[in-house]
């Protein structure tokens, strides 16, 4: 099996079968990371370029490890300091990389749509590693992988996504994925952080965290972008934390055995109490581990190396 597409730019554009194929492929790669020799030759001779226009540690590292475990050659390229300053456009930067025979470009960019624009402009495969507030498809796929691993089934699974939905690519990708898979999605946050017409995407909107958490199977916390204070989205970190921070008490409102997720990095004591992040319910580190397997699966499927 292989993905019959050149790029992975969004969850919205994936079919249910494609999502399942990616998760199944990731499953078969997960075992590789547990071996003593964590390497398979699937992408030997292929070149993967991490093109990151925004700072990122975990996503870039995760892609780098995934590519290396598949035996690809990897280079990391952070143009923020060089070509952007010189006025080079995104497309020109990418075409230069393509000219060096890159097979797959992994793009992180602050603007929504950057990955799609790039995918339309180059022959290399493009993987979206986060574009503005739009999508972060590999994050959502690793989240879905983790949910499937722990909960087995998405039908009727109740998932609460908590925080700044409007400015979150993680939330968008998860909403698109979970709704395709048949989960029940709740979005929770102050009205300033809920984008318009969210209900029309099949999401139930809550402003009250306690009410939203009742009976859910998964609690997905979003990172509060602290720099957004002063943009009138919330009055203070103190008040945000009181109203929308996840405490051990609040976790008890959910179904027994509910998962607590976070895309990281966690603002401990802001959106999540430290004891929750470190609790038995928390699968935050499983998400990180699964991220490598999921990205191996995606790289493998896009490289057509089957």
């Amino acid at each position: 099996m292989s993905l019959k597409r050149k790029d992975l730019v969004s969850i919205a554009s994936l079919t249910l079968d494609e999502i399942t194929l990616i998760l199944d492929t990731a499953d078969s790669f997960k075992e590789v990371s547990g071996r003593e020799i964590k390497k398979v030759p699937a992408l030997r001779g292929k070149t993967v370029v991490n093109l990151f226009f925004e700072p990122s540690t975990r996503t870039r590292t995760s892609f780098e490890l995934a590519a290396k475990r598949l035996s690809a050659d990897v280079i990391n390229f952070s143009p923020s300091s060089s070509s952007v300053v010189k006025g080079e456009t995104l497309l020109d930067t990418a075409r230069n990389i393509e000219a060096m025979q890159a097979d797959i470009i992994v793009l992180r960019h602050p603007d929504a749509g950057a990955a799609e624009t790039l995918a339309n402009g180059v022959k290399s495969s493009v993987i979206n590693a986060g574009d503005g507030w739009h999508e972060h498809p590999t994050q959502a796929l690793l989240d879905l992988f983790t949910m499937r691993e722990k909960k087995l089934n998405f039908k009727g699974l109740r998932v609460a996504i908590v925080g700044d939905i409007a400015h979150s690519r993680v939330a968008r990708s998860n909403i698109f994925g979970l709704s395709k898979l048949g989960a029940e999605i709740r979005a929770v946050g102050p009205p300033t952080m809920i984008p318009v017409h969210l209900d029309r995407l099949g999401v139930r909107v809550y402003y009250d965290l306690d009410e939203a958490l009742r009976g859910v199977d998964v609690i997905m916390m979003l990172r509060l972008q602290l720099e957004r204070q002063g943009r009138a989205l919330f009055p203070s970190i103190r008040e945000y934390s009181r109203l929308y921070g996840l405490t051990a008490e609040r976790v008890r409102l959910a179904e027994a055995g509910a998962l607590v997720m976070h895309p990281g990095p966690v603002n401990r004591g802001v959106e999540m109490a430290p004891e929750v992040a470190d609790s038995f319910s928390s699968v935050i580190l499983d998400q990180v581990a699964n991220g490598v397997a999921v990205r191996m699966g995606i790289l493998y499927l896009l490289s057509g190396a089957n």
């Binding site: 497309l91 603007d111 749509g113 402009g121 507030w133 690519r169």
Partner: protein, 429 residues
Amino acid sequence: MRILIKGGHVIDPGRLNGPADVLIENGKIVAVGQKLDPPAGKADPSTTIIDARGKLVLPGLVDLHVHLREPGFEYKDTIQTGTAAAVAGGFTSVCCMPNTSPVNDNQSITEFILEQARLAGNAHVFPVGAITKGSEGKELAEIGELRHAGCVAISDDGQPVMNSLIMRRAMEYALAFDLPVIDHCEDLHLSEGGCMNEGLVSTQLGLPGIPSAAEDVMVARNLALAELTTARLHLAHLSTAGSVRMVRAAKSRGIRVTAEVCPHHFSLTEEAVRGFNTHAKINPPLRTWQDVQAIKEGLRDGTIDVIATDHAPHAVQDKQQQFAAAPNGIVGLETALPLTLALVEEGFLSLEAAVAKLTTEPARAFGLSKGSLAPGADADVVVVDPEAQWEVDPARFRSKSRNTPFAGWKVKGRVITTIVAGRVVHDAA
């Protein structure tokens, strides 16, 4: 130098709507009527005969809102290429916005524009001067001097005057010259960072949205200031149902206001942005189906006086970027007429009303002696084949730029001949 346009269907809004010949001499309309052929045997070989059978013969179209990009951005368009696009689209008069570099906030720039227009020899160009120096919204530009140099209105265009006191003073001051004050209605705080309509599509694409309210609150402010000052207010490119509603109410109360809409705002919705299509990136943004309906209703009942293009050329490299980085704007001069005629086809406007919104109404809004075929008027005439179907092909545009969301559209109604001051400046026959 005589031109006789024979056998066409003349629409001179409010004056004539029927078969007639049009006789032009020395750059002026001499007569409009039946059988203007010279008597047999007296045929003058210097008379050019244009056979307009099956065609519409209209006053040259008047566009109150174009960006000719010169001086400063000649790589996008020049006064030469922009006016060539105008006449190809049937426009014989265009009003160019002051957001050039430098800004048209003084006599020298206005004179430069008029001189370039004269050298180009295509359409008549009527410059619009800035409201404030450098369009910075701080100090009034020398509006009297701009008027004297030939500006027909004032506007800070895409940099709307946010300070309501400055706007009030500008409107008061303009009264001395009875000069229309144009506002691009946008509350820059509400729209900050936005690059498309705030709605379902922006939520799905994760693009920062611009709410309708960003336009509505400024329309409301401007109407209040127009009432206070009694100035002539002209509202540029309205895009929301709320704007149409407020202008309708203001007009019924006798406030002096005219309003324009652009073809893209009644032909497209926010859906056109899907796929991060930068050719659909425009400010004000493409809105929803409900807004489009309200605009059409406003055109039908006369709330909206004018159809203008907001012709805003951008080079390929400007638009070939990620959505947020691409500039706003659509070229419109070469597609406006068929898109307007589509409203006739849909039954929203009579043919005469549609023509009026491109001729007599814009001329009236800015006090231009244009848009009419009355004897003695400048011979600005356009001959249109209303049945001709064609496909929009940006490669054939006269404008230097190709940024249109209408590429590939099958449209109806084609400009055959454009005459400016008695001279054929475009001939596709």
